[in-house]
Every structure is written in C-alpha cells, then in structure tokens.
Chain length 358, copies 2
C-alpha cells in the first residue's frame, strides 16, 4: 500500500494534473482553489497516502509547525507541587497533533552548567536550531527577564500557564494567590473560620503567593486565624507534622487545614490521628495537589488543584491559533482573556462543615 520511496507534493501534483503550488494551497487550507480542483487533489492525496514532510515545510516557508515547551529542571516532578510533565504533555499532544503541530520539550538548568551557558543561551540555541512557531514557558521561567528578552528579540511567540494581575497589571504566570483564595473560600463557605495553611511547595515564591491568597480570604470575612495557623515557609513532612500537632493540641484550634502538597497533607492527617482528632468530623483537610494515593487514604482526601495540563494545552492552543490567524486574518489579538480559572475540585471525604455547624 504505502510505497517506500517518499511520496512528495510533486507526485500528488502529477497525479491530480495540477501544479505543486495548487497542492500546497490545498494542504494548507488556503483560498483560491476551485472546489472541483480541491477535491481532485484531495483524492490524489488520499490515494497516494501523501503526508507532507515536516522539515521541508520549515525550509520553504515561515511556519515550522513546532511548538517548544521549556521548563526548569527543578520545577517538574511528582512531589511538592511540581509540574506534572506527563499530563501536560498528553494534553498538549492532544491539541497539537490534530492541528498538525509537533510538541518538543526542553529542559533548562539554571544551576549554572558551565558548558551550556546560562538558561537564556540554552534557549537561544534551541530557538535557532528548531525555529519553533511558539514557545510555552513553564513556571517560573516566565519571570526570567533574560529569557523573555531573548524571545522578544527573535520575535518568537510565547505563552504561559495562566496569568494574574499584579499591581494592577496583567502578568504571565499562574495565579496562585487567587487559587489559594478559592480554596479558603470553599472552606469558609462551609462555615470554617479557624482555618490553617501548611505550605509544602517546592517553590517558596509561589507558596508565599498562596499564603497571601489564603490570608486575603480570611481577612475578607474578618477571621484572625491567618495570624495563628499558618506556616511561614514550605515544610517537610516532620515539620508539618509537628506544627499541626502544636495547632491541634490547644482548645482553640483550627477546624480546617489547607495542606499545600501530598506530603504535608499526609503529615496533617497523621498528626490528627495521633491526637485522635477525626477527619473530617473534627477537622477538615483540603489538599492543593493531587496524587493517586490520596484517594486511598483514610479518609480519602479532598483536593482542589491547579489544572496544569489544561493551562498548558490552552497555551498551546493560543499559540497555534495566533499563528494560524496571523497567516490569514491577522485580526488584532485584543487578548480576549476568556481564560478558565484553571483549577478543579475533587470532592472526596476529608472536607465537611465544622463541628459547631452540625
């Protein structure tokens, strides 16, 4: 069926009795091709099993049908709130594939490798080698001015996971503050007022933004809990365990705790168990980071998590759309910003109303 010696656009042109150019127009969905001709070409394509050669497209034209995702070495992984590269990739693949785009990942290592140069040089190299149509900068690379400027200089389209407003301006990057605020408000709505926050995130800056969001939510309803029940930095398991025990021992204690990661959540849970404090009857526990094992805790832990995969695929989509649009309509990108919230609640068994409300 499929022949071995590559089938080129030339072959299709010949088979359809048209010029290469017409075939090119058809495969690129460009105008100025009569319907009848288009159909003839499409038939020839189907019959010959023609598939355009990616490298050749890049060579000839201006688009490369490649989008490049760049992430920081330490920012991806399976613990402490790191990015779920696997899920992001799957989501990205599913938007890129059908549109004929390919997705490439590149890791940059900020911790000064000598031979490779600094991160922006690494990226510059990748850009000239690959000439991607767009790049997705994963957190917290979007905050690196050196990288941003390389991208700008080259005029490479870039996008990010989410955006937030900072000092009244919209800046790229996840809105961790809003996210934590939403988490707190979820518990507030249930009636909780004495509410704790245990940090565990690998990125102290993002973690601090989350604590701010949590504070805002509590201040808004006039609770002073944020003065008492909050860790002032990301904690490891043992620290989180000790801190939680300290919170839960006195009579006045939180009725709900937000744990930033799987690890801290397990610590909180164990601390509660050690004190015979029942979850969720006496204490609600909300985790900001999902993991498969969380559904097999006793009780199963309720999670509100940032949907990194959705954020990522949306970034890919925007990049592709911008690329396609500018090629034809070139409508001004007024940045409609109908971005989703980008987080999702998985309601399991660890969150309930506070005791006095029942």
């Amino acid at each position: 069926m499929t022949q071995s010696g590559s089938i080129t656009i030339e072959d299709v042109a010949k088979a359809a009795g048209v010029s290469r150019q017409t075939v090119s127009r058809v495969i690129n969905f460009q105008p100025n091709v009569r319907q009848s001709v288009r159909e003839k070409v499409e038939a020839a394509i189907a019959e010959l099993g023609y598939v355009p050669n990616q490298a050749a497209r890049r060579m000839g034209g201006s688009r490369s049908y490649q989008i490049l995702a760049i992430f920081e070495k330490d920012a991806v992984g399976r613990s402490d709130g790191r990015l779920p590269l696997d899920q992001m990739m799957l989501a990205g693949l599913r938007v890129c594939g059908p549109r004929g785009y390919h997705l490439l990942f590149e890791e940059v290592d900020a911790s000064g490798q000598k031979s490779l140069g600094d991160p922006s040089e690494q990226i510059a190299r990748a850009l000239t080698s690959l000439k991607p149509d767009g790049v997705v900068l994963c957190p917290s690379l979007e905050e690196d001015p050196g990288i941003r400027s390389v991208l700008d200089q080259r005029g490479v389209a870039s996008d990010y996971l989410g955006q937030r407003s900072e000092f009244g301006r919209l800046v790229p990057g996840l809105d961790d503050g809003f996210f934590a605020e939403a988490a707190a408000e979820h518990l507030l709505a249930l009636g909780h007022r004495q509410m704790g926050f245990v940090s565990g995130h690998h990125d102290p800056v993002r973690s601090a933004r989350r604590r701010d969001g949590y504070r805002r939510a509590l201040i808004k309803v006039g609770s002073r809990a944020h003065g008492h029940f909050i860790s002032d930095a990301p904690l490891a398991f043992d620290e989180a365990f000790d801190l939680t025990r300290a919170w839960l021992t006195p009579t006045i204690r939180p009725t709900a705790i937000i744990a930033e990661t799987e690890e801290t959540a397990r610590a909180v849970l164990r601390a509660a168990q050690s004190l015979k404090i029942s979850v969720p009857d006496d204490l609600s526990l909300l985790v900001l980071d999902d993991a498969p094992g969380l559904s097999h805790c006793e009780p199963a832990l309720t999670v509100l998590h940032q949907d990194y995969a959705a954020h990522f695929s949306q970034a890919c989509e925007r990049l592709i759309t911008a690329n396609t649009k500018s090629a034809s309509a070139m409508t001004d990108n007024k940045n409609t910003d109908a971005r989703e919230d980008g987080f999702a609640l998985i309601d399991r068994e660890s969150v309930a109303a506070p005791p006095r409300n029942r």
Copy 2:
C-alpha cells in the same frame, strides 16, 4: 550579541575562509579536516554564535537528529503500573540533548478512532512526516506485529524498553517475569516462604508474566505458597483488601506479600491494620511500583521497581549510537546486550525477616 537574521553555515564558511562543506565536516565531527582549519572554523562558529538549523540538516542529509517515542494511550499515567512518561522524558532528554538529538512523543490510540486509522497507520503518518532516525516503542506496542512491520518496511531503526527471552528466543519488551522473580527472591532470601502476590497492574498480560515469575521463584525453593496466596487477575483496592484479609485471617498465612501497585499496596496495608497484623513485624510488604506517597505510609513502604526511565534512555542511547556508528565505522551490531537489569530497590521500612527467623 546574537544577531537576528539567521546565521547560516555560509556565514561561518565566509568568516573562516573555507567552503561550506568544510564547515559541515567540522560540525559533524567528520574526518579529513586539518586541525588548524578545524580550529579556525570552530572559532568562527563560536564568534558568530552559529547553530545548525535542524530542518535543513534533515533536508540535505540522511539523518534527522530526531528520535520518536511512541506509546499507547492507556499505557501511560500515574496509577496501576503505568509508564511514568515524565521521568522517561527527562531521562531521554538528557541523553538526546547533549548529542544534538531531539525527542518527540506520539500517542497512538488503539481503540479504533475512525478518522486517524489504526495505530500502524498513525505511526506510518508520523514516520513520513518526521522521518525520525529511530523510534522507541513503549510497552506493549512492541508486541504489535502491524507496527513492527511498518517500521521494518521503512527501514526505521527501532528499540524497546528492555528485552526478555521467550521460548528460548530474545524478544523485545520488559522482562516482567524476571522482575517479579527477583522480587520474590529478595523476600525468599530473608527467609519468607509463605508469600503472597496481589496483582493490580493495568496490563493483564504483563501482570500474568509477573505472577509467573513469582511462581517460578517459589517453586525453585519448594514452597507451595503460590498455590494459595496469589490473585488470579489484577485487583482494585476493595478486592485486594478483601483478598488480603482472607489470606491473613487463618493461622497459616503469608509472612510476606508482594503488591503490584501503589493501590493494592495500600489495600494490603489497610487489611493488615484492620487485623492488627503489624508490618513488617508480622508481615512484610514489598511494592512493585513507586509513588511519592509511599514513603509517608506507616510504615514507609519498601519498593522494588522497574526503572522505566533508565530503560527508556538506554533505548534512546542505543538508537543514537547505532545511527552514529553506521555513519562512520559501521561495525556489525553484534548486540552485546550488556543491558542492565533495569530495576531498583528502595529499601524503606515494610520488609523484614519473617517472625520465626528472629
């Protein structure tokens, strides 16, 4: 510093006062360039910040510097023993990047999508579009004859995660039998004889191979436990819980259990707890699948896991090496097969000698 209008091989040639071809030879580490000339060219490259254009290399030559990893939709993820795509990608990137290769991932969906055609057609399309130098077929795609034959026809180099011997012949694919055998032997060496095996793997075929390996190990030492303490199919949490309780209730009961996944491990642990059977004092628990939360169980769970990332990066490496070799030395690939075992023990707290041995 770095100029915007692309710097090409031509620019370097001019700057170094040589021909394009000589520059090409230098960047490809080919022979027949005088040391002095080589240095002049290298200097020019460094000065101009030249980086070869990937697409152009593909167009001109026969190598594409791309390797394509293909996986099945349902075979990757974070539960039930699925492939850790993120870790594989990182490992792969780290071998490909330094050698100038790029890594692409492609998902195939066996569950008959109409528009895309069957898996081998999807792959055929990717192959003609990308012309990768090699492809890594992830489990259990290596068992699909249709896919293998597409690869063969096109003469695309392919490699796999591991290999095992089957009916006396070496076939591609992970050696799950040997792996489970090793797990059982680890416990056997500690003195366990009554040993259970709880399946939970998403792939029943691989799971069955593991159970066989476990059986072999027990038979080898004359234990009959494999007749009693083994699930006959992959189990979900509740089933694993019930089965384990059934095993642990009578007087004659296993002193060790191998759980295939995080989920089943948690089920076993809970079953033991519910029966007040202490782990590891009365029961050892060995898990075949790691997850971050496993180190925060009570007790922390000991894991022996297949190192998919290592398998994957080794496959990439072999592909690249073969590609490079054939370009210069073309030594016959006698398949030295110095492949690693490809699994690793993470010794935590859930495995100990059986009670009677202490």
